[in-house]
C-alpha cells in the first residue's frame, strides 16, 4: 500500500525544498539565537557600565543659571543700546565736524578778493595788492618803415635754404590745386 508521500504528486516541489532550507535549517535558527543572546549581553554590558554625574553637578548648573540671569551683568539689550549710544555719539561728532568745516569753507569763499586777507597773517601785517590796471604804451619804432617790392622778392621761405631730406610726398591724382 502506498502512503500519501509515496505518491509522486505528494512529494515536495523543488521550490518548497529551497524555501524549507531557509526557514527550517539549524543555521537560520542558530543565527537568530546567537544574535538575540548577543543583544542581551550588549544591553547588560552597556547598562552595567553606566557613568554618573559628579556630586557638584547640581551646584554647577545653578551657578550657570545664576550667571546667565544675573541682573548685575548687562543684558544683551543693554549692550546693544549702549553700543548704539556710543555709535550715535561718534556719528554726531563726525557730522558736526564735516558741517563746521563746510561752513568755514563757504564763508571764506564768499569773501571778496579785494578784502581777502590770508588767515595766517594778522590784519595789520597784511599787504594789500595793487589791482589797478597797468598802462601799456604802443611800440611805434617801426611804424615808418615801408617794405619795397625788391625786399618782398628776396624774401624766401626757410625750407628753400634748409630743405628737408628725402623725397617729397607724391600728390594724389585726386588732389587738385585750389584755384583762388
Amino acid at each position: 500500500m502506498k502512503t500519501p508521500l509515496d505518491n509522486e504528486e505528494q512529494h515536495p516541489s523543488e521550490e518548497w525544498a529551497k524555501l524549507r532550507h531557509y526557514v527550517a535549517t539549524p543555521k537560520g535558527t542558530g543565527a537568530v539565537a546567537e544574535s538575540f543572546e548577543q543583544n542581551v549581553m550588549t544591553k547588560i554590558l552597556l547598562s552595567s557600565s553606566a557613568v554618573t554625574a559628579p556630586e557638584n553637578f547640581e551646584d554647577e548648573v545653578m551657578r550657570r543659571i545664576a550667571a546667565e540671569t544675573d541682573p548685575l551683568v548687562p543684558h544683551t539689550w543693554d549692550k546693544i543700546v549702549s553700543a548704539l549710544k556710543s555709535r550715535t555719539a561718534a556719528v554726531i561728532g563726525v557730522v558736526a565736524l564735516v558741517t563746521g568745516s563746510s561752513i568755514s569753507i563757504y564763508t571764506v569763499s564768499q569773501q571778496s578778493a579785494e578784502t581777502y586777507t590770508a588767515p595766517i597773517l594778522q590784519k595789520n601785517e597784511a599787504v594789500e595788492m595793487d589791482l589797478s590796471p597797468v598802462r601799456v604804451e604802443r611800440d611805434t619804432r617801426f611804424d615808418n618803415v615801408k617794405q619795397t617790392s625788391s625786399m618782398k622778392a628776396t624774401r624766401t621761405p626757410d625750407s628753400i635754404n634748409h630743405p628737408i631730406p628725402g623725397k617729397a610726398t607724391p600728390k594724389k591724382a585726386s588732389d587738385q590745386e585750389e584755384d583762388y
Partner: protein
Amino acid sequence: MSQSQTDSKAEQKRLNPLTDEELMLEFQNGSTGAFTLLMRRYKDQVVNYAFRFLGNYDDAIDVGQEVFVRVYKYKNNFGHTIKFTTWLYTITANLSKTELKRYWRRNSVSLEQSGNPDSDDHAWDIPDNDYLPDERADQSEIAKRVQIALMKVSPTNRELIVLRDLQDCSYEQIAEITSLELGTVKSRINRGRKQLQEHLRDIYNDYFQIVTKQDNES
C-alpha cells in the same frame, strides 16, 4: 531647623510623587524645587547619554549641565504634547551632536570625508576610532572595552543604540527625538547593534563563552 528648611522639605514631599510632566507644569508656574527634582531624576541619564555618545567624561558633564540650563531657560517651550523625557533627550542629543562636530573641527577631521557637516545622513558616519576612554570616568576594564567598541560604531547608529539600549526609549520616542521615520530608526538600530556585536566579539568570547559559528569554523 529653620522655617525655610521646613518649607523646603514640605515642598519636596509634595513634589516627590508627581510625574515628570506635572513637575514641569509646577516649574512653569514658578516652582524651582520642581526643577531641582527633575534635575536629580535625570542628571545621571543625561550625563550617561552624553558620555556614551561623546566618549569624553568632561565634555559629557559640560553637555549635561548645559542641557539643564536650557531646560531652565526654555521651560515655557515645553508644550505638554510630548513626554518630558522625549524633550529632554532631544535637547541632549542636539547638544551632544554639536559638541561632537566641535570635537571634529578641533581635531581637524576633514569635512570632505564626511560630506556636508550639517547633513545628518553623511556627517555622522565617521566612527571615532581615535577615541581613548577617559580615566576620570572611573570605569572598570570591561566598561572601557565596551565604550571603545561603542565609539567604533558610526555616530548615527550609536545615538540610536544608546537611546534604545541604555536609556530605554521606545522606538516611537526615538523617532520623535531624532526626527527620523520609525522604519529608519529600527533599521539603523539593527545595523548599529550588528556593528557593536562585531566589536564586542572578543568580550563575548572572553567573559561569556559564546562561541560563534564562525569561530567554530576557524
